[in-house]
Point group: C2
Amino acid sequence: MKQPTICPKFEKAISLLSQRWTTLVIYQLLLGPQRFNEIQTSIGISGKVLSDRLKELENQGVVKREVIPETPVIIKYSLTEKGQSMEPILKTIENWSQTWIKLESELSSN
Amino acid sequence: MKQPTICPKFEKAISLLSQRWTTLVIYQLLLGPQRFNEIQTSIGISGKVLSDRLKELENQGVVKREVIPETPVIIKYSLTEKGQSMEPILKTIENWSQTWIKLESELSSN
DNA sequence: TATACTTACTTACATAAAGTAACGTGGTGA
DNA sequence: TCACCACGTTACTTTATGTAAGTAAGTATA
């Protein structure tokens, strides 16, 4: 590793977003507040890593964790304002993917 | 891992972009065609991983590798049309980061 | 009271990815 | 011939992720 010459804010954003699963977790939460198991089963992440990611995203102020003392207790994860503000990023990626990504099943003549 | 329920094209795009370094390599190449060592020193990636990423990006049709038989030989990496088309994604992330990312040095009152 | 069940994790261990540093290759120049 | 440079590759270590079993708090059931 040498010394990078890139804007540190951009770099920090990238290092967040390019952690495996982070983007998908945020994408999922853009659909609305969700519980641990909902996120887990809908994106197919392991419990261990989801736990790590949610903690990190909470630390970064992207995700909010709420304990609802019902019976049984419900833990609800949702996006903060900062998290919501990432929607354009996800939408841009989504748009791009629709135009440019070819799936295995479509790769015939390239 | 359970079964995910997300658009496969979007997922494939995410799995590309959320590989460590991929985004930074593309970002760097958006500044113009560059040689191996230029990329390496400007983003601070190890030669081994850069080599892997460039191969993968070439396979995905994002990066083009050109051998220029000068003296000594020059290997020039540049973005294909598909690679160039990712610029909006990077710009969106850059904009977001300027507004929302706080650096260590700025974290006093949060 | 004991047993079993649920959600939301955590822990222990195995595999995969990334980092580091040394080496290989093809060509130049001294 | 020896040293040097660009562009990698290889061998080995460290870190991240996956898998499966376990824990804790609360209920319901017998």
